[in-house]
């Protein structure tokens, strides 16, 4: 008589116990799912940023291209949106961008490559331990400081060598920009070279090659895809660089291929308009989005090129 309620009670306790655990587990899982979803949303911010950039640039440029034809934008040789006789040709800004980038790359690519080969293949451990953080710091100096340096130190120095050099010019801005880009080129190239397996070097040394021969004929070709990616990274840095050019190259749009002249770049033009107080919505104001779109397309082109180079020359070890 007595045992039934007893058993019943035990059963009830067990059931309670089990359902309690189950309930807790469900709660635990629910919390887990919520946390996972929140983390997922945070990861999606990067996608949202890209979409935001594309939508804003296209939307605002669309307003611009309703009033200025794409043909004029691409072929007109004058860029004077702020004048009464307004012309909207991107070519002068593009030439300034390309010339300054070319000067920067002429400085950054040879120096960056030599530094990368030196640090990866020649330098003793102690030199590398000091040089790498130093290069990192060189890349960490704010660009406005480089701009100041180009305008007030490098330009006066260059004027002693080329007496006719104007106070604003693409040459000094480009050279300083090149120095700024060296760390990007050298660190990515060096990583690529250090990823080349030791066996390749050992094979080369075993054949009697010297360090220099091994570095230039074995390691560099083997790491070519990575080095090319480093160059492309340098190019997109140069094309997108703003403050050095806004400070030291002048802000006059000038269709020229001569680095000794002052000229505006796409980025410098955007800064110039943003500094003035043009009313939001005016055509002159929309131009900065069209210029931004052109800049985004140029950098996109180089990024895709870098991606393709890497794919094409990738060697698997």
């Amino acid at each position: 008589m007595n045992s039934i309620p007893q058993a019943h009670r035990i059963y009830a306790v067990t059931e309670n116990f089990v359902s309690d655990r189950l309930a807790r587990r469900r709660l635990r899982h629910g919390k887990e799912r919520v946390i996972e979803f929140v983390l997922f949303l945070a990861a999606c911010v990067s996608v949202a940023t890209t979409i935001g950039i594309v939508v804003i640039l296209l939307k605002e440029s669309f307003i611009f291209f309703q009033q200025v034809s794409l043909w004029d934008f691409l072929t007109d040789t004058q860029w004077t949106p702020l004048f009464a006789d307004a012309h909207y040709g991107i070519l002068p800004l593009l030439s300034g961008t390309l010339v300054s980038s070319a000067v920067a790359l002429l400085v950054a690519i040879p120096l960056g490559t030599i530094i990368a080969i030196y640090l990866s293949e020649f330098a003793p451990f102690s030199v590398r331990e000091v040089a790498k953080p130093f290069l990192e710091m060189l890349g960490g100096v704010p660009t406005i400081v480089y701009g100041y340096f180009a305008l007030l130190f490098v330009t006066p120095l260059l004027q002693k060598i080329f007496p006719g050099l104007p106070g604003f010019n693409l040459l000094s801005a480009g050279m300083v920009m090149g120095i700024m880009i060296i760390p990007y080129v050298s660190s990515v190239s060096e990583d690529a070279m250090r990823a080349v397996p030791m066996a390749l070097r050992e094979g080369s040394y075993a054949m009697g090659a010297t360090r220099f021969q091994t570095a230039t004929r074995v390691v560099t070709p083997a790491a070519f895809s990575g080095i090319a990616a480093a160059y492309i990274l340098g190019i997109s840095r140069a094309v997108g660089e703003t403050m050095i050019l806004a400070v030291a190259a002048g802000m006059q749009p000038n269709l020229t291929w001569n680095p000794m002249e002052p000229a505006a770049t796409i980025t410098a033009y955007i800064v110039q308009v943003a500094l003035g107080d043009l009313p939001h919505g005016s055509l002159a104001y929309q131009t900065i989005f069209a210029a931004g779109l052109a800049l985004a397309l140029v950098t996109l082109f180089f990024n895709v090129l870098g991606h393709m180079l890497r794919k094409r020359f990738r060697q698997a070890y």
Binding site: R28, E32, I35, E36, V38, L39, F40, A42, A43, S46, T49, T50, G52, I53, I56, E60, L111, I114, I115, I117, Y118, F122, A131, P133, F134, L135, E136, M137, V141, P142, T143, I144, V145, Y146, Y148, F149, L151, L152, F153, I179, I182, T210, R211, F212, L233, S236, V239, G240, T242, M243, T267, I270, V271, A274, H280, F289, G292, L295, A296, N303
Partner: protein, 309 residues
């Protein structure tokens, strides 16, 4: 016999010539490094010579002024500090959460691939494009105006890839045995992550955050693009003071200027006296960013030495 000796001589000369190339390239490498060192020395030296005389207490406590010898960087460094607060509040939680998701949770599918491609690509987008995004979206789309909040959000998005990549690398360095141990004791994924993965990767994440902040503090272009003013002679309201008392977060909507913009403004004036101010402001800026970078490098160095899994 004589012929062999001559041959050996020739071979030795050849070897010596090749070794000379080794030496030559070593010198060339040192020379290339020296170009970097010399530039840095010239840059720092020139600013120190020009600007040192302007570095005084007054320089830090004065507002910008038309008179160069009375101008200071008070509104600039206060603005920079407040913008950095908003930037950190945006980029750190978002970046760490995204890094954890990609490393610990993300399934292998096209959505994950899409997110990863986006993070890589965003790191290569010129900073001025972020400025245009902020101008279209935050300033006019959301109506946030040219405020500290807009600038902080913009720079937060700008350094997001840096924080994400640093978080992922720090997490990836943790051996799988740690996770397996936690799971074996019945911990859930989040318990494992919050109690083990996060604490162990903290130093690595911190390195990335500091490098990102050092970059954000020197960024000029996106902040100019959203329309930050160059001449600000007042400070944002301090919370809960004034009459009527300012709200706790009123300062985020205040107009502002930052250190690099102040320096840009002084650099682009023709008067040499303002260039001295620019040099002094640049000196402050460089010391700030370099000490942040040095701190990050030091933390990473300690980390590499101390952790043995």
């Amino acid at each position: 016999m004589a012929e062999t000796a001559a041959n050996i001589k020739k071979i030795r000369a050849l070897i010596a010539a090749h070794k000379r190339w080794d030496l030559l390239f070593s010198l060339l490498g040192m020379l290339a490094l020296m170009v970097g060192v010399l530039t840095f020395v010239a840059l720092f030296g020139q600013m120190a010579v020009e600007g040192a005389s302007r570095l005084s207490w007054d320089f830090f406590t004065n507002f910008p002024s038309r008179k160069p010898d009375q101008a200071g960087i008070l509104s600039a460094w206060v603005g920079s500090t407040l913008v950095m607060l908003v930037t950190a509040a945006t980029a750190v939680p978002l970046g760490v959460a995204a890094g954890i998701y990609l490393e610990e949770y993300a399934p292998r599918n096209w959505i994950t691939d899409l997110i990863e491609i986006n993070v890589t690509n965003l790191a290569g987008v010129p900073s001025i494009i972020y400025g245009l995004l902020a101008l279209g979206l935050f300033v006019y789309g959301f109506g946030l105006g040219q405020s500290i909040l807009t600038a902080g959000l913009t720079l937060g998005l700008l350094i997001l890839p840096v924080v994400i990549v640093a978080t992922r690398e720090a997490i990836r360095a943790i051996p799988a045995a740690i996770r397996e141990g936690a799971y074996a004791l019945g911990a859930t994924k989040w318990q494992t992550t919050a109690d083990h993965i996060l604490p162990y990767s903290l130093a690595g994440i911190l390195t990335g955050v500091i490098i990102g902040m050092a970059r954000a503090i020197g960024e000029t272009a996106p902040v100019i693009t959203i329309g930050a003013l160059t001449f600000i002679a007042f400070l944002p309201s301090v919370p809960l003071t004034g009459d009527p008392p300012a709200g706790l977060f009123d300062w985020v909507m205040s107009p502002f200027t930052v250190m690099p913009i102040q320096m840009f403004n002084w650099t682009s004036r023709p008067e040499a006296a303002f260039h001295q101010n620019a040099a002094a402001a640049g000196l402050v800026l460089v010391v700030m960013t370099l000490s942040m970078n040095a701190l990050a490098i030091y933390i990473r160095y300690r980390l590499r030495k101390n952790i043995k899994w």
